[in-house]
Every structure is written in C-alpha cells, then in structure tokens.
Symmetry: D2
Subunit: 133 residues, 4 copies
C-alpha cells in the first residue's frame, strides 16, 4: 500500500493541478485580482483534505503583462504565488508555487507525519503568521 | 461590412462562451458560491465592450447537486443564472443564461441600436433596478 | 426581436469564447499540437449551429514559446489561428482569430444573409478550398 | 526533505488535477470522443515525469448524458476512465481515475521505488498489455 504520507502528497498535487488548470486563462487586471484570489482559494478549499489555500496575484506583474489597450491580461503561473496546506490521516503537507528561474514551479515545502518533519531543502516553510500554517 | 449591431452581438457571444468555459468545472459549495460569483463577474467585465456582468449561483441547486460526502460539486450551467450588458459603438446588447426546458440556454434579450430597440420575444429585459441595466 | 443575422453573430461569438477559454492553458508541444488541433475543432463543432472549425497551432511559435527545459508551453491565442463557420436560420457567419498588432483578435469575417453578403473590411473570406467554406 | 516517492506522488497528483480541470466542460459526443481522448493524453504527457496517459471516454455514458436535442454533453469525470504512469528519480507511480460509488475517484494504484512495490489495496495494476505499463 501507498503510505499515508504518499497519499497526502498525491492529494496535494491534485489540488495544485486543479487550481492551475481551472483558472489559467482567466481575464485579470489589478481591479479584478482580489476577487480572483478569493475565489481561487475558496474553490480549491472545497476539495478533500485541503485545509488552507492562499493565492497572491501580483499587481505589478499583472500591470506589466497588460500589453495591449484593453487593460487586462490572462492569468498564468508567472503572475501569482500559491501556498496550500493539505491534511491527510495525520500527515500535513505544505506546498507552494512560485517563480523559480523564470518558470512557475510547484513544489513540496514540507511533509510532516505525526510530528516527524520531512522538509525539502531551500524552501521557506513560513512559520510566521501564515494563513496556511 | 458587418453592422455595429452584429458586431455587438458577436462580442456578447464571446463573453458568454468565455465565462462558461473558463469557470465550468470549478469546485463550488454554498460557502464558496459568493466569491465565485464575484470573481466570474469581475473577470469577464475586463473584456472589451463588457459593461456589466451579474452572476447568481443558486445555493439550493448547489446543495442538491452535492451528492457525495465531500460537500461540494462542480459548477455547471444548471447551477447559475448570468446576465450581461455589452456596449459596442452605440449598440447595447443584453444577454442572459438561464435554465430553459432543463438546458442552460444563452440568449439575446435585447439589442438596442441608438435607441431603436430590437427585443427578443419572451425574454425579460429587466428594467427594474438590475445591475446590468 | 433580434434579427437572424444578429443571432447568428451571437452564436459565432459563443463558439469563439468557448474554444478559447476551454483550451487556453493546455500543455502543448510540437508533438502534441496535431491532436490538440483536432480535438479543439471536433469539440466545438458539437455546439449548435457550428458547421466547421479549423484550428492551426503554429509549431514555430510553440517552439519559440518553449522557454524552459521541460519541452512544452501552454496554449494561448498567440500560438494559433482559428476559423469557424456558423449557420443559423439561413445566415452564414465566418469568423477568425489571428494575431493583429501582437494581440489575438477574434473577428467577424463575413455575414451572409440569404445570399446578401455583409463583409467586414480587410479580412480574407478565404474562398480557396478552405475547410470552413 | 520529502522522499523521492513522496515527490513522485505529488507529481502524479499534479497531472491528475491538470487533466481534469483543463478538460472538464469540453463539449463531447460519441463522434468527438476519440479525438478528445488522444488530445488529453498527449497534452498531459508533455508535463514533467509523465510517461504515459491513457484516457477512455465511454461512449455509452456519453450517449446517456446527451439529454437534450443538441447531441452533445460536457465532459465530466463520470464519463471517463484515466490511467497514468509517472516516473520520478527511480520511483514509478501508477494512478487511475474511475467511478467508485458514483463518484469519480482519483487514486494511487501503485508506488514502486527501485523495485520495492508499495501497492494500494483493491486496485488493479493492469499488467496486461496496458499502454501505461
């Protein structure tokens, strides 16, 4: 059988793929970014084992991407940061998506199984007042 | 050349297809319905010539569609009503999507070209305090 | 009432918005471009009044957009041309999406009502063996 | 650090969420089902570590879901089975989505780390000439 930690990581991945491919392509501007952040988080938090989702759409990047007269662009991974917390059978998985070398990388930040942390190198588990903590 | 009214109707159709196929499949529950309504409207209002979008996700239909233990369903046309107002070169187009004989039908409600109304039969142009008016 | 030509243009717009927002964001490479073209066309041809859809994903643009080591990119309007033919109550509408001044523009090419053409300026109605003709 | 097997399961989940939420809502009929199956598989196989994807859209279920005169329905998880094979740093993960108690369940079928199988209970790892094997 797959372990609970493996199942938890599988569930975490499902949420990331879901969020990205459901909302990529959505028309977005600085004016609509807040409502989109809220809807993305609330939608994915509906999914099983998904305890917290935090989406930040960067207005400065959106403004830079608005390269035509219409005043909006389409949502892509390069415009946002995402953090999630998954809880599955006592295992906590923290994940994030952020720009890494020009590419939006989805990554495991931390897998904690009954208090035994298994932390990925280089990633910030963000203990400081994070909504996903 | 296509007339301004034809162009306006083309633009109206683009917005409807965009809204539907961008957001269909989004996980939704009564708890997340409000944020989804807001994000859908704000996203599509970014598009050219789109002056107003009003989305109503019906909580009772969502609750009925939640047929498994996870507590959510996926957004489909049968769960929502949508109304939009498009303005193109002096032409105002009002459209709506609502359940008609069990199928979510997108339809032109009204095409008004410089004050000359061209109204579709049977549809309610909703003059009464509607956000799309 | 809206005219048949206006209804036809509304239907044409729905198809364009649907195609774009259903498939934008799909992982694509030169190797998968043919199957994606075929699926996009066949999917949208299911919709009412949609007689022909022709999608061309430009391999050279896809190759240029593959800017990371993974070998794929995500579908956007800048990577493809689309042409459609809609038939509604005797009205034929031809539309296309192509890059115009760096932006993928969806446009009406031709509206023909019972043999009375109403052609938009500057667009090529493609009389030459086009699958949408 | 997360283990290679956990990373592999995370990657497997991403692919499933991506496939589902990219393509859910696509208009589909028995006539367009084959091209959609092919495009879904080829698109997701572009993603990192994704070695094989097999999608089966069940024509009988599609036909049953076509409940209006237009002759098509929208793709949902209940209409298809999906199997995938992920390879990450020597770990092979097999996953599938199939209807379970009326709900399309995404699940880990097998996690094999350097030849040490970790098989989930009740799932068929499909040794018989499967394209994902």
């Amino acid at each position: 059988m797959a372990t609970d930690a493996q199942q938890a990581c599988f569930e975490a991945g499902i949420k990331f793929g879901s969020l990205y491919h459901q909302f990529a392509g959505t028309p977005v501007s600085p004016e609509s970014a807040r409502s989109l952040e809220a809807a993305m988080a609330a939608a994915i938090e509906n999914q099983p084992y998904c305890e917290a989702v935090d989406v930040t759409v960067h207005d400065d990047r959106v403004a830079d991407a608005v390269d035509h007269e219409n005043g909006y662009t389409e949502l892509t991974g390069s415009l946002m940061d995402v953090r999630m917390r998954i809880e599955y059978e006592g295992v906590t998985v923290r994940t994030r998506m952020a720009m890494t070398e020009g590419y939006p990388l989805m990554e495991l930040v931390e897998v904690v199984d009954d208090g035994e942390p298994s932390r990925s190198g280089g990633a910030d588990p963000s203990p400081d007042g994070d909504p996903n903590a």
